[in-house]
Symmetry: D3
């Protein structure tokens, strides 16, 4: 088996995390996994959704979008069509859930942090890049809140990162790019905490079902990949 | 650990599968997992979505809905609100993907089968009950198509069933009902083929992340549960 | 003239009223007029629409839907299309108006009862079956409110029932089923109170206009039919 | 009983029918019932709705709207709110159905006539004024089609007119204006053909149910009123 | 160059301004520029948009619509399509902005005036006719507010009027009608105050770009036209 | 008068034009006017809108969006709200109209070029930056079409650029940034061709009306600014 990119099965693409990419957001990160580029902006607001009001805790939510020409052929603009597609809804719910696992919501107080993940250029793995980048933007937003005395303790529990794994030409591979993704038999997205705790596992057989053995192989690859990603996140945050 | 229902950790609820529940659909199944009741209707149409036209293959899709008072407190009707919620969209995409894995789409010819899964009464596990029931309705629709000479071979590859597993009070349990589901630390939905092939794995940490060991326990419980469900499906189809 | 079902002109279909059909709603009735099956759920809420707030009175409203495959060929799901059709809107307004005539809204206090009428299987007459079934569900909800001490008197003024009548092959017939309805020259829906008071009369010439004489014949048939229905409602409520 | 306007129970308001009110439509009528003013424009198109294509027959449909300040307090604009309300939908369906009864749709050929009824000023009875005015606009459109040789025979079967009747302070009255309408116990809309055939009867008890006797009184008043209206229509068409 | 209407380049169409055209609105004006007829209703409300609440000032806003058959061929009804088109949105924003320049918003107190401009018949120049007519309706609404003691001073600063100018067959012309507008190389809308102050200039090259010289010519024509319009507005208001 | 940025009245911000900013679009330009950053992607499609089909000519259209956190406080995402706001619609119509003036649509053949202008970071002047950047992306798309032999001649007539001018503290200034824009008395957007032809002039009095003299000053500033911009466009295209 030869990956189209020439990478080894367990090899991530070049990952770059650029903080303070735009100037208005409380956290603003451009995350790049090879040619996949996602801008992750964290916005802090001093109010929470209705169902949480008056309970003293906070909330983290996410929105996801692709620029119409982030992809090989132009996709219709969701704002123009007047609704977000099913895939978009699914992804933004996943991002929100994943990042809520990074934070002690009680310690956030009655604040909401919204993570806007907008895909500038797509080459596979946009949802896992979004989670990985958004966690860094989230930390910047939490630091902002501490500087501004909006909160007195650090609500971060765990760094959270995500990666895709899949079965490509019968073999488990890490971090699928678009040419792999569109030909993979199985596609799995893993979200894990820095301590190895599992937050979300979403494996889907695109063609034939996968076996438990393949599943275990993918899990092992993903675990190692996430470890690398957390190191990159921490390095970026140390700068 | 004591389950609210008194069931053992590996014990399914009473599962009932009633075929020909309504008279218009080509396949019509009421599936009950304890107090969870879902009506699964399969409709055959002699046309496929635009992206498949003229290619000779078929398609399987699903729509999901909850009656407004299928739940403890009344939910707003999606038709009245003018849009399907994110959870609905996520679930109907899962049902569609899962059942496409049951069938050789080429052998379907240019036909589409739509599986409408409408929850009459909810008590946890509606999406996995939907998949399990819809597969039976799908088989009835395929038999109809064969009787009507719309197709000449049986496109069914595999029976497909689904179950939820979770970590409740620290322990892995099978087939969560609502009181368990709303208190579980982890909720996992498994979709598998009758031969044990994995089609979809969706595990979500609701509170703390889960460990690989817990994950393996849940997988084992789910696998056994799906085996039982496939037997019940086959028994129903033999009647 | 021979009715397709073999019934006499003044003969209702077999009508069955099953209470407590689902377990969450304060009133839950499955009403069957032959092959027409409608689930009518009554939900009690301790708030009223904005235009009634602070005035001490209550409100009764209704929503109506058809499951996509309740009909011979699949209808698009209104939630997926993002709007309720004109027929749906018309019917749910009729159901709401009709049942408000059954109740002393002042005596309801500031509560709203929503009647969800969802058609599981359609064979003509779904709107009149909905009204007839919803009135029973409404009574169950009122009894619940009395048990729960939400109200101290019984707001019910009158049982309300509804039936369709029409001119089929030149002759007036009661309770049209789908084969009759789709060929009738005139279709009339009657809503009456148990004391014979008229609540709603909606007669429509589908083809040629109808005469006053035909109108009078239909009225007479309908009146007798509603009398029977009220007896069946009361019998069901006495169980 | 004294009517607010001083009219006798059986007395119509001043009715005026002005043809060629605007210059673009094939039929354009301003109809006035006292202070109620509705512009009824008929548009001819050489295509029919999808469900009729290729069958050789035509279609008549209607749309209804109220200018935001046609009423005492400003109503939100439906185009701005992004949807037509339930009352609007109900009314436009009624107008369309009523006028289809005026015409032999086969003789129309594959043409559609759309009747736009827009309320410039409202003072009760806008739906019945719409039907009465739209029928005149429809005849002008049919004459246009004959002049233009789009059709060779006159498809008109019957003039159609409509009027409201009601029980006001216990007594049956004809042609309710807004002060009466908002206090009436019962409101009934009658649509009849010039030969006395009944096309649509819609009676609604607003408060207490109405009796068969009251119903008969209203019917008699309405019948006489429609006779007068048909004469006015014919007079306008003769000019 | 010969204008289709035979008018001179600097000649307005016959302009008529009829006040109190309908009876419910606080200001109601039918404005006619030749065959272009727009009904402009001003509605006063004792509340302001959320972003202005509690600040003591008022707001003026506008909505614009065309009746479906105000034009040569029928346009779809925006309420039925479920959204206002881009042109509509653009025009109603222009009307609102223009009229806010006529009034001291502080002196309005916390009131909002909504100007509904509905085109009954279109023959070019509907947006400028709307502004010109709406300003008269606005003055009537301000007079009403003074009579009703809702305000104690007159918030009117300036009469505001608007006109279109364009380059038709190479020459600058005033007040384009539809045959000119649809063939013009350049179309410019001018909104000015009675004292000659410029409020809005919108010039658009439809075909070839226009020169500064042409621009100056159009400006001069427009300025003179607006002077005439303000006189007509004042004359109407003096009646 | 002192501009907040310290610029001279006739001074542009630093303008940067980066081509090939993303890799999928046929033309992809990041345009920066100081802190305003807009990504302009041009997409070529081999089909035209319905109203142009079969006529042999092409079309240019534009869509505009702001990332939710391109601004100082987060704006709601239009895709999530289910509709584009009035300002968005107005801007994208302006961009489309402006760029259609750059091109001989006949020479485009039956192709459509869509210009997606997405604001990554906003600091005033996003619409004029969009037009200026989109014109460069458009040229790249036209070059692509020539290389791919989709067209045989160059349809470009004129480079087109745009700039804002305004009256700030009584004085005319070029290229307003956000602090100026939000305090300007008048805001004018100018779109011109490289030969000085005027394509679009949109001047709006935000507070008091502006005089003809001020208008002339703004025009002169804008003209000079656009000259500079066209040079920058050409320099970028020469690289």
């Amino acid at each position: 088996m030869q990956r189209p990119s020439g990478r080894k099965p367990e090899q991530l693409r070049d990952v770059r995390i650029t903080r303070q990419y735009t100037r208005h957001a409380e956290g603003s990160v451009l995350v790049e996994f090879g040619d996949t580029k996602v801008l992750c902006n964290a916005s802090v607001a001093a109010e929470v959704p209705r169902f949480l009001r008056g309970q003293g805790g906070g909330w983290i939510t996410a929105e996801y979008g692709m620029l119409p020409r982030s992809t090989g052929s132009r996709m219709g603009r969701e704002a123009a069509r007047g609704k977000q597609g099913g895939r978009t809804v699914e992804i933004q719910r996943l991002i929100g859930r994943s990042l809520r696992a990074a934070v002690d919501l009680k310690a956030l107080g009655e604040h909401q942090i919204t993570l806007d993940c907008d895909v500038i250029q797509a080459d596979g793995g946009t949802r896992t890049a979004s989670i990985t980048g958004a966690c860094v933007a989230l930390v910047d937003a939490l630091r902002y809140m501490q500087r501004e005395k909006m909160i007195t303790t650090d609500p971060l529990i765990n760094m959270v990162a995500a990666i895709s794994v899949g079965i490509y030409q019968g073999e488990a591979v890490l971090d699928l790019d678009y040419p792999e993704d569109s030909n993979a038999d199985t596609d799995m997205n893993l979200v894990m905490a820095e301590d190895g705790g599992m937050i979300e596992v979403q494996g889907t057989a695109e063609g034939a079902p996968f076996t438990e053995h393949q599943f275990a192989e993918m899990l092992a690859l993903g675990k190692a990949g996430i470890k690398e990603l957390v190191e990159l996140q921490k390095k970026a945050l140390a700068e």
